[in-house]
Symmetry: C2
Subunit: 303 residues, 2 copies
């Protein structure tokens, strides 16, 4: 049985949406605790222009701190959208590069100033450089299930990008539901089509909860053969360049149900819940996750 | 293809949890609008002792008002837990009786003062009377997937109750996840086992979102062959006699995704969203549903 991989993206996809910039030391503390809990991959931040996303201005420094004397087996990933970001990431010790382009022309232009085709070509080029530098690489298709600007995104556009990745030898591929439009039937169909192109693809999924379907989509993806899941502490998240977006599926909610089913029981759920509670307390508002509020299901509760 | 049935239980399972008693006229207005939206069944209220659940004290009067001169094809259901409730329901025009007992001994005793076996026998007796009176009847197993007091509930206990219902000729059966403990694999397994006992059972499901799994469980139930879904406007809900409980899956969230998939497109989603917004406004707090906040996915949004 293939191991289920948990990729915590809260420090990037969660914090980039927040008006309030979180101090470096606070971020570092949250990330270290998620690593200690035994999560497989943590996305530390993105390498984008600090004027565009000031919340991510300290990503390089965070990587330097976290990789210095590192003994944890948790991989530290960074999101890169262009060559400049790649250069920064290579310099500061990114262990796994996440590179992506959007299947929506409008979303792609708003996010990068380039259309889908050009953005994909540049991502493929940057990904090849990261591979050549000996780093792990995951490439993604953003807005793979629909776009807040354009509406439905044709599956053939997504599969075209996947083919471009596969032709370049890039076989760790994430499909991201940036706007939250995916439904379970679509998820199963699209990941099925990807795995038909190449049954050896390591498929990752990333779902936003805009319309309440994140967890249902995760289980649909699992059924289709997806083994890696991008989730966010407390359910924090969104993309600043989409029109309507809501949180990610909460990491502790996913780990909780997986453990109910006998998977990944060695991950320290209590520690993840504690981090999610601290994240919620930091922002001082209700978060979308459930389990950090309720606690895990007790085997037997006192009456 | 079997038609998917939507059963709105907000006026009962939602409102019974609220400290604030909703005025009869307000309830009546919400119910009429849900009927006008084309929902198949609306659970108007329960017949329990008004001192125990004062929020439901006006159920009889509501039924009288709603059935007088009724032309809508929406069925009006009422929840009954004992013979006295049955008597009241028969007198005031309940069209569909929902009768149930809990598979959890502790939950059953707290809810009815009887253990599971005795409660099931009495429910079967009352259900037979309702059938004899020419009414539609649905019987349920509460706490079918776990109990906030007892923890796991053995599947054999649930199947034992289902067998008792089937032997009495009662073939419309709902499994309710009162505490929200169900996970998708368990849901598929348990409904599969029920349908193996009798492939002709009309299965209904009812999931609480305590741990964020309601919608995922609905899709698991659909896969197992369940065709009827109990949901609540705005996601309101819970049971006053369980220890930890959270809202139901929101009716408008379910209709929204079903319509994305081409099902039940004749139901008036905008009207359901308007009701959910009014329910949220009435209580003046954030509700768990999503679509009443975001609106439906637009085919193409303006950029």
């Amino acid at each position: 049985m293939t191991r289920i991989v948990i990729h915590e993206v809260g420090p990037r996809d969660g914090l980039q949406m927040e008006k309030q910039v979180v101090p470096l030391e606070t971020k570092e503390g949250w990330i270290r605790r998620v690593m200690d809990a035994g999560v497989d991959i943590v996305q530390v931040g993105s390498f984008v222009h600090p004027e565009k996303v000031p919340q991510m201005a300290d990503t390089d420094e965070l990587f330097r701190r976290l990789t210095t004397g590192k003994t944890s087996t948790t991989l530290l990933s960074g999101l890169v959208l262009n060559e400049k970001g790649l250069e920064r990431g290579l310099a500061c010790g990114v262990e796994m590069f996440c590179l992506g382009a959007s299947a929506s022309e409008t979303h792609s232009r708003k996010n990068t100033g380039m259309g889908t085709e050009e953005a994909t070509e540049r991502i493929v080029g940057a990904a090849k450089q990261a591979v050549a530098a000996g780093r792990k690489v995951q490439v993604s298709v953003q807005s793979a299930f629909g776009c807040g600007f354009e509406g439905p995104v044709p599956e053939e556009r997504v599969l075209g990008m996947v083919r471009a990745y596969l032709e370049a030898g890039l076989r760790s591929i994430s499909l991201a539901d940036t706007a939250g439009h995916a439904d379970p039937a679509q998820v199963e169909r699209l990941f099925g089509a990807v795995l038909k192109l190449d049954p050896g693809v390591e498929c990752t999924c990333h779902f936003h909860n805009t319309y309440g379907l994140g967890m249902a989509n995760i289980f649909a993806a699992r059924r289709a053969g997806v083994t890696s899941f991008e989730t966010s502490f407390a359910g924090l998240g969104g993309c600043p360049f989409t029109r309507v977006a809501a949180g990610n599926v909460a990491t502790e909610d996913l780990v909780h149900v997986l453990q109910r089913q006998g998977f990944r029981t060695e991950v320290d759920l209590e520690r993840l819940i504690a981090v999610a509670r601290d994240v919620a307390a930091h922002f001082g508002r209700d978060m979308q996750g459930y389990v950090h509020r309720t606690g895990p299901i007790a085997t037997k509760e006192p009456s």
